[in-house]
């Protein structure tokens, strides 16, 4: 009996690596600490009623934000492990297998469990406020999206200490990811982690599409909508059409592994290249899904801190919608070297170059907005200014990669690595951080410390160039990606060592920048400048017209919009002495909290874990639980309530008393 348990544990838990034992200890200690703190301060009920069962978009947004920052930490540690291993030739820091697992989880976590939730955090925190709405269109579904994402992410991260991490690259190409080459459970963790969180992502896409089309304040025509909301619309359209492709592709891979099908195997009529083709049909729109909202953020930030209307509003809208369609026609540029016919490569090379045009239009619009504006260099503006040169260089190297014949040289070299980090860090990370700093006072009611923030920004910005500029050169010198060591005895070191060392230094500078941000946030919680006006930056859009943090119903009275930059208009009218029409409060219709999303996501987690280990006794009850939750929701009718007028009056009086 004891022998059996020992044998089971030795395969169930990952063993043999001091880093992983360290993680085991850290996980156990953190869990104990959390349970202790919650019990000691009697916060369990608070956690359940205020957070776990909440359907309030603002709270869901905060939970997304916390989860994504934790994932940024995990993915960042992965990155630093890799850079440490590559700092010198012949490093013995990571074994080859471990290195494979680290680059796989780094990629998957950064895209699917960091960029996506950070994006959803901003969707949730901002879009309903910007539209003058009280919540998203489907608050219950919104809560479910979050919990499915979190359970998927936890399942994926669990692979680090239980069963073994996936190690077939962030997109898990077959045949390497097939049972024949990856017999362990790592790939199962990959498939189920992404599938479960993918349901959540798709639901969020639908939710925000409907919210934007249906829930705008009266008078806010589509062409009067703030640009961030437009970018969310564009991103949601892409999510709705791209994520089903990912789901189907991974489902087919699962059938290959689970039931012995032959969709992507080397023999029996399977074709691994079909997987590559399908996964990039999701993968390419995916990079635009994450970058377009960043464009929306920059548009808001630039207009606010230049004290000007955004230049070329219509061209901004048009280019974002154009990108959301054209992004579906460029996927082959990720595998030009597959050997398709010349016509195929030509078509996709041209479509890739074409999609650079609307992006260029937007860059000029931001520059022209700043031209002759009264610019304030605040923290959000700093990240925006850092973004522009970074993204221009990243875009230019992207067009170099789009030249199909030349791509045969760049493909899978460090040139490519440098390119996509430049657009993803320079575009997505800088963008979301700009958004985080911009809307932070609205969400939490205080500004983040300026001094620490400037340190963080410059460490990030300089660290970025120090890290990735050498990698362009390394690519030209022949260094390929996913290489775990390059000793001169193996004939691999072609003078790469100095540049690799520089690159590692840059990576650690960015790590230091992240530490400064953690310091900044924890410092500002106590000492940050409180926002008592609700409009700390002199904003132009509706979210700045209400107190910070916003009351649970957002708007006591539904705003009526007549122009774009609606809040700016109100402020102008006030200066001219035009009084707003008197308004009458009415009871507000709100959704009730629900435990079903959390319970259902836990059931999905149980089912997913069962499928990972092929334990049907666990997977089937999990799925049954999911079904019961669906039924329970279908037959629950008591899902909403009204906030009475006197309660609104009391809340507003308390808030306004503080704000005015």
């Amino acid at each position: 009996m004891w022998e059996n348990i020992k044998e089971f544990a030795s395969t169930f838990f990952v063993t043999g690596d001091p880093l992983i034992y360290g993680a085991d200890v850290a996980i156990v200690l953190t869990s104990i600490a959390i349970v202790f703190v919650l019990t000691y301060f009697k916060k369990w009920k608070w956690l359940w009623t205020e957070w776990i069962t909440t359907v309030d978009h603002k709270k869901i947004g905060i939970m997304y934000l916390i989860a994504s920052l934790l994932m940024l930490f995990r993915g960042g540690v992965d990155a630093l492990l890799m850079r440490t291993q590559l700092a010198l030739p012949n490093m013995k820091f990571l074994q080859a297998d471990h290195y494979n697992a680290v680059f796989t989880t780094h990629g998957t976590i950064m895209i699917l469990f960091m960029a996506m939730p950070l994006m959803f955090a901003l969707f949730n925190l901002v879009v309903p406020l910007q539209l003058g709405a009280r919540d998203v269109a489907y608050p219950f579904l919104n809560s479910m999206s979050f919990w499915l994402f979190l359970m998927g992410a936890m399942l994926f991260n669990l692979s680090f200490v239980i069963g073994g991490s996936p190690d077939a690259g962030w997109l898990s190409y077959p045949p390497l990811s097939e049972l024949s080459h990856s017999p362990g459970v790592g790939q199962n963790f990959y498939i189920w982690g992404i599938q479960i969180s993918g349901i959540g992502s798709l639901a969020t896409g639908i939710n925000f599409l409907v919210t934007i089309l249906k829930m705008r304040a009266p008078g806010m025509k589509m062409m009067k909508m703030p640009l961030f909301s437009w970018s969310v619309l564009s991103s949601s359209i892409m999510i709705i059409f791209a994520f089903p492709i990912l789901t189907v592709t991974l489902a087919l891979l699962f059938l290959d592994r689970f039931l012995g099908a032959h969709f992507f195997t080397m023999d029996m009529g399977g074709n691994p290249m079909m997987y590559v083709n399908l996964i990039w049909m999701w993968g390419h729109p995916e990079v635009y899904i994450v970058v377009i909202p960043a464009f929306g953020i920059f548009s808001e930030v630039v207009a606010t801190f230049s004290k000007k209307k955004i230049f070329g509003y219509k061209s901004m809208v048009f280019s974002m919608m154009l990108i959301s369609i054209v992004s579906f026609f460029t996927w082959v540029h990720h595998f030009f070297t597959m050997g398709s016919s010349a016509n195929v490569n030509v078509f996709f090379a041209i479509s890739t170059m074409v999609i650079g045009i609307p992006t260029g239009v937007k860059i000029f619009n931001w520059l022209f907005t700043m031209f002759r504006g009264r610019i304030t260099i605040s923290q959000p503006m700093l990240w925006t200014l850092g973004f522009i040169p970074c993204f221009v260089v990243g875009g230019a190297t992207g067009v170099m990669l789009a030249v199909a014949p030349a791509d045969y040289q760049y493909h899978n070299s460090y040139f490519l690595i440098a390119h996509f980090h430049q657009v993803l860090i320079g575009g997505v990370v800088f963008g979301y951080l700009a958004g985080m700093y911009y809307w932070w006072p609205k969400v939490f009611g205080f500004k983040l410390n300026d001094r620490l923030g400037k340190w963080a920004f410059w460490l990030w910005n300089i660290g970025f160039y120090v890290c990735f500029m050498p990698q362009y050169a390394l690519g030209f010198m022949g260094m390929t990606r996913r290489l775990y060591t390059y000793g001169s005895d193996t004939g691999w070191d072609l003078g790469w060592a100095p540049l690799n060392m520089v690159s590692t230094v840059g990576a650690f500078l960015m790590g230091l920048g992240f530490i400064f941000q953690v310091w900044q946030i924890s410092y500002s919680i106590k000492n940050g400048e409180r926002d008592l006006t609700g409009d700390p930056w002199g904003g132009r859009t509706l979210e700045w017209s209400i107190p910070s943090p916003a009351p649970m119903y957002n708007f006591a009275v539904e705003p009526h919009v007549t122009t774009d930059d609606a809040w700016w208009k109100v402020k102008e009218d006030r200066e001219k002495g035009i009084k707003p029409a008197p308004v009458k409060l009415e009871p507000i219709h709100m959704p009730k909290n629900s435990a079903i999303p959390f319970i259902m996501s836990v059931c999905w987690f149980v089912a997913g874990f069962g499928f990972v280990f092929d334990w049907m006794w666990m997977a089937i009850p999990g799925l049954v639980g999911v079904g019961i939750c669906l039924l329970a929701r279908s037959f629950s009718y008591d899902t909403d309530y009204y906030i009475p007028v006197d309660e609104i009056e009391r809340t507003e009086a308390a808030l306004r008393g503080r704000t005015v």
Binding site: N277, L278, M281, W331, G339, S340
Partner: protein, 108 residues
């Protein structure tokens, strides 16, 4: 939330029991036909493939009309617009994959 929803809560019908039952029967029949053909080997390969494809398209139409209420809803017709984009994307996925993967036949 309230003002938005109450405006058209009743404008969007959600079908009658009759239409749901009818749709259910149609979709079952359209599923059974290909199943029977394949299980019993009633037709040759080309005929089978064509029949399955026709049944799939009919199934899609049944789902759209009986369960997705494509005819209902107010203007602007967001549902029709998204459907058109969806059709374009599906066409791209299928036709694009065939075009891209056709190199297989030339290299082998």
């Amino acid at each position: 939330m309230s003002q938005h929803q109450t405006g058209h809560e009743h404008a969007e019908g959600h079908g009658s029991l009759k239409s749901y039952v009818l749709g259910f029967i149609f979709s079952i029949v359209l599923t059974i036909i290909p199943l029977v053909i394949v299980m019993n080997g009633l037709l040759n390969k080309t005929q089978t493939v064509i029949t399955i494809m026709i049944m799939a398209i009919l199934q899609l139409i049944v789902q759209l009309f009986f369960f997705m209420h494509i005819r209902e809803g107010e203007k602007p017709r967001w549902n029709v617009m998204t459907l058109i984009v969806g059709v374009i994307i599906v066409f791209t996925v299928v036709a694009g994959s065939i075009w891209i993967m056709s190199f297989n036949s030339t290299v082998q």
